[in-house]
């Protein structure tokens, strides 16, 4: 490519980057401005103020909400990894009666978006007295439709393992469960990583379910809490909202930059299979 062509291409790429990068920049810098002069064009606050970052914690139990989101996402991710790797392994590597029929039953989870079943699930959890608890946000993703995609991905991975590996282990007298744990699972690390990233982000981003099930502020998750920073007249406290949004977004962005290859390939892979 000619030098001129390259310069042109870089120019186009830089221009296209603006809507992708600028919002994050604007989010962080605006959170450091006082609410009075938050509107305007200045790309950097005239004087940096962390007052809004402090307000985030006094206006809502934000540390508690942060913890809620984090622990729910971790529990859901671990639970999904266990469920999906076991079920995916069994469907891929073991022959048993009813295999195809049972796999079809599980696959219905891929067919039915969770928005379709939210009304009956709400009634079920309501009658169990589990409204305004975290149980619906933990149980449904681990056992319900969202984990089916994970099972499917794990199955697709385990199918590719060569049969000789397991036969050799068989000769050594290993049981199925031991083959799964000591041979198949360690080999599945890339697939497990992809599933973990995907599941964590899905749980971290969940919005419809928390606003349907949760009503007290100390139970809220982050996405739900972010929209609640208003003054007594329902006016938006932009700088506080943006501070809370920054605190929600930045840690994940840092992990993403450190492990960008795993994130990009893992998420694209899971997206394709869904």
């Amino acid at each position: 490519m000619s030098r001129k062509g390259k310069t042109f291409l870089y120019g186009v790429l830089l221009l296209l980057c603006v809507p992708f990068v600028f919002p994050t920049w604007w989010m962080v810098t605006s959170s450091l401005k006082p609410n009075a002069d938050i509107f305007g064009r200045s790309l950097w606050p005239s004087h940096v103020s962390f007052a809004a970052w402090h307000d985030v914690f006094t206006m809502q139990p934000f540390a508690r909400q942060y913890f809620n989101s984090a622990y729910i996402a971790v529990v859901v991710t671990l639970g999904t990894l266990v469920m999906a790797s076991m079920a995916g392994y069994a469907f891929a590597r073991i022959r048993f009666r009813g295999q195809n029929a049972l796999f079809l039953v599980v696959l219905t989870g891929l067919l039915i978006p969770s928005e379709v079943t939210i009304v009956p699930l709400f009634r079920i959890f309501n009658s169990l007295g589990l409204i305004d608890t975290h149980w619906p946000l933990i149980l449904v993703p681990i056992f319900g439709a969202p984990s089916v995609l994970a099972t499917f991905i794990m199955r697709q991975f385990f199918i590719t393992l060569p049969a000789e590996l397991e036969e050799a282990a068989r000769m050594d007298g290993l049981s199925r469960a031991a083959i799964f744990r000591r041979i198949a699972l360690p080999l599945a690390r890339p697939a497990l990583g992809a599933v973990a990233i995907f599941t964590f982000l899905t749980s971290w981003n969940l919005y419809l379910e928390p606003i349907v099930y949760l009503s007290s502020k100390s139970m809220f998750t982050l996405p739900q809490a972010l929209t609640q920073f208003t003054d007594p007249y329902q006016g938006q406290l932009w700088n506080v909202q943006l501070s809370a949004a920054s605190m929600t977004a930045i840690p994940v962005l840092i992990v993403f930059v450190l492990a960008q290859r795993q994130f990009i390939e893992g998420l694209a892979h899971t997206g394709l299979k869904g």
Binding site: I94, T108, P120, Q224, A245, A249, A268
Partner: protein
Amino acid sequence: MTKATRRQDRLTAYAFIAPQLAGTVAFVLVPLVLVFWYSLHEWNVLANTFTFTGADNYRQLADDPNVPKVLLATLFFSAGLVVVNLSLALLLAVLLNQKLRGTTVFRVLFFSPVVVSLVAWTIVWRFMLQDNGGINAFLDAAGVDGPNWLRSGGTAMAAVIVVQVIKNVGLNMVLFLAALQGVPQELYEAARTDGANAWTVFRRITLPLISPTILLTSIITVVGSLQVFAQIAVLTEGGPGTSTTVLVYYLYQQAFQFHAFGYGATLSVLLFLIVLALTLFQWQLRKRWVFHES
């Protein structure tokens, strides 16, 4: 394999799939049946009454003047999203596929919104799209009087689509990039020897060869677009009027804001039928294109 080990294998398999199977039944299949059942009922949470109302909710669905508007808004949103998302994803992938230093950095930048918390991302855009927000401030500097993006009928839908596309286009971009890298180099060289220009090469060689990926991504994007909720709730709350009230948002309003659970269940049935039709269509297409998939 002996009979005993085979039996042991089977038992292990059943134990391994039992939790997933029970979960699917309890949290997917039973609720799905219940959606149909509830759509024939009215449930009053406060009085705790649950009464059979027959086809009343379906009659309401047929008479509801909002339903055609909601379906139209859903169609606009999905169609707009797919067109903008796929064109942009393809453009970015083609640019990143050039032999150029630093494309990895650009790939990371274009992908980064995918990992930004969805509501955080939406809040920043809501802030920027205010009448006196950042975007209009910059337009003002250029001498353009920007509209009140989220409050005017003409721009609200476009704004919601753009915010969603920029958030997620990175995923389709990566899929397209992989597809582009799978096109054999010899084909390009042969075409160039024949004197074809870049546009002809793209149209006659690249596009046909990546068409399975285009099809796949468009279906994933359409099905995903039907589930968009947080963006609408945070950006426009379905407004102005009902111009951005898509089906999932309408369902949420009816069931959880107006507490019309029976009618909410009826709208869920409608959503289910649409997703089902799309999925069956997708399977038909995949079957036909299967020789392209590796």
